[in-house]
């Protein structure tokens, strides 16, 4: 039998992923990895170089995919970690710069947004306010974001030439996360109690602009996956009355906007979302992917969302770092059998961490075969 071409592999893998998203049963459970610092680690690339050169990052991520072998997809590539600052509205400290070489990049969260900024966002509009804020704190983050998004079409093509699918190359905003990041968790939560109307007014202004930006992005990007992220907006952090007012309406609207335009919302939900899993049934059926990081009970998620939403996950970063390959393989097999084989995509929780054992990642990859 002749070898499959890269294009044949790409089509096969795309079909596998699409089948899982539509809650069907693929020929095998697909994989969708997030490889960033781990790619640099296994390819012997200095983290400072990886973090500062978007083309090198793309090549390193592609090489790491080749090293791992028969992997269906990567969620996005290339990468420029400074761009994380745009999601958190906080600068990112980088290896070889503010941090020692081969130290993982980290978001420098401090109080940068003050209560008066809620009024300013309403008065000036989100884009104008954000432009000034970027000028003060996030010049590098914005440049990194532009570099990454500018390079992405080229790397979508490069991965395809090797038979790999880029599963979710788009990123949607989350107004709650933006403000929470720049305000810090504690101060933002206190604002939700003490000046709720001001916060909500700002969130509404942000959402109106982000909705249109997202609509244009999905129209331009086509029917692939789009991250809709939530971490500090996880239900474990917020009372239901706060979550129902400040998180869910915006998340729901963002998801529905992506779906309306033909995209696949990938709900990158870090931390524990157990309490609100039933709410996710209000989102369009068989159109979204729920990506969990090991903190939400994925087995309960399956019970609640079976027949409604594809689930992706959730081999935790701690397991990939500390467990044995046999333990990883056993856990992945359990996921495949109990969460899959229908409507399931196997993946790490959040991202494969810097310092993960290569043999553990291989054990995860091998589990689907």
């Amino acid at each position: 039998m002749s070898e499959k071409t890269a294009e044949m592999l790409f089509e096969e893998r795309s079909h596998r992923l699409q089948t899982a998203v539509r809650l069907g049963t693929p020929d095998r459970v697909p994989l969708a990895l997030v490889l960033d610092a781990f790619a640099a680690q296994v390819m012997g690339v200095k983290l400072s170089d990886f973090a500062s050169d978007v083309e090198l990052a793309g090549q390193t991520m592609l090489d790491a995919m080749e090293l791992l072998g028969d992997v269906d997809s990567i969620q996005f590539a290339p990468y420029a970690p400074a761009m994380l600052g745009m999601a958190w509205l906080s600068p990112v400290e980088l290896p070889g710069r503010q941090l020692p070489e081969n130290t993982l990049w980290q978001v420098d969260e401090q109080v940068r947004i003050v209560p008066e900024d809620y009024d300013r966002i309403v008065e000036e509009g989100w884009s104008a306010w954000l432009g000034a804020y970027i000028g003060r704190y996030l010049g590098e983050a914005a440049a990194a974001g532009q570099a990454m998004m500018g390079a992405m079409p080229h790397w979508v093509s490069e991965f395809r030439k090797r038979g790999y699918v880029m599963f979710s190359p788009g990123f949607c905003g989350n107004p709650f996360e933006n403000l929470c990041g720049g305000r810090t968790v504690k101060e933002f939560i206190l604002d939700l109690y003490r000046i709720p109307d001001k916060v909500q007014a700002a969130l509404d202004v942000i959402m109106a602009e982000e909705r249109e930006r997202t609509r244009q992005m999905v129209r331009a990007g086509g029917p692939s996956g789009y991250w809709v992220g939530g971490w500090r907006s996880a239900p474990e952090f917020l009372a239901p009355k706060l979550w129902n007012r400040f998180v869910w309406p915006y998340l729901q609207e963002m998801v529905e906007t992506v779906v309306e335009e033909g995209g696949i919302p990938v709900l990158h939900f870090d931390a524990n979302w157990d309490r609100e899993l039933p709410r996710l049934k209000e989102l369009p059926k068989a159109r979204c992917v729920l990506a969990l990081d090991g903190k939400t009970d994925i087995f309960r998620a399956k019970e609640v969302l079976d027949g409604h939403m594809c689930i992706l996950g959730d081999v935790s970063p701690a397991m990939l770092s500390l467990a044995t390959p046999d333990e990883v393989h056993a856990y992945c097999t359990r996921l495949i059998n109990e969460i899959g084989p229908s409507g399931f995509i196997l993946a790490q929780g959040c991202t494969i961490p810097f310092g993960a054992k290569l043999e553990n990642v291989r054990a995860m990859v091998d589990a689907v075969k």
Partner: protein, 210 residues
């Protein structure tokens, strides 16, 4: 035991009523230590509701903030009180990790539950934990991280405490986004705290607070 009106108002997160009741009690001559005790009873109600799934992290943070605000007028008198805390916690985010999100919340919640917190900040050198233990003689050490890459730093910090001959003097609590029981076993900590309230429960147990 029925909660006092003050304890109940804090337990119910009634910001204004809690502040007013503290002032009324001070005006009527009640001791700051007794009022503080009622506020701590209020935090117990919050803790119980958190444990029961009725409250979440946001309520812990808000309650701690009300506690701090309502308790502010007591501070001057409390300075001369013999004992106004149950014990001491040395707390920090371990070396090579600059995240303070979890650590700050733990500091806030612990302090409002009667535990003196010595906050060493973020990116704390291993030896700094040792120096703080020598200086402050805590019963508890808390270590936090948000990165799996610093598990070895956490392990090394605990080893440094052990090498200094101080390990038996402290109970080490750990927590943070990627931390779990396996991490606690790996680094040699005593208690894994999934939430800030888990930390309070563990601390109260160690300190013999009912």
């Amino acid at each position: 035991m029925n909660a006092s009106k003050l304890a109940q108002s804090l337990g119910d997160l009634d910001d204004a009523a809690t502040v007013d009741l503290v002032q009324e009690k001070l005006d009527s001559g009640e001791s700051a230590l007794a009022i503080l005790g009622e506020l701590q009873d209020g935090m117990n109600i919050v803790g119980e509701r958190f444990a029961g799934g009725e409250y979440f992290l946001s309520e812990l943070i808000y309650a701690a903030d009300i506690f701090k605000k309502a308790g502010a007028p007591l501070q001057e008198e409390l300075k001369s009180a013999v004992q106004n805390t149950y014990g001491t916690l040395v707390l920090g985010t371990v070396k090579n990790d600059i995240h303070d999100f979890g650590k700050d919340i733990v500091a806030t919640v612990m302090a409002s539950n009667g535990i003196k917190v010595i906050d060493l900040g973020v990116n704390v050198e291993h030896q700094a934990f040792v120096e703080a233990i020598k200086e402050h003689k805590p019963q508890l050490v808390g270590m936090s991280c948000l990165l799996t890459t610093v598990f070895d730093d956490m392990k090394e910090a605990i080893k440094t405490i052990k090498d200094a001959g101080l390990r038996d003097q402290v109970t080490i609590l750990i927590g943070g986004g990627p931390v779990d029981q396996a991490t606690a076993d790996y680094v040699g900590a005593d208690v894994y705290c999934k939430t800030a309230q888990d930390g309070v429960i563990a601390a109260r147990k160690v300190l013999g607070v009912s």
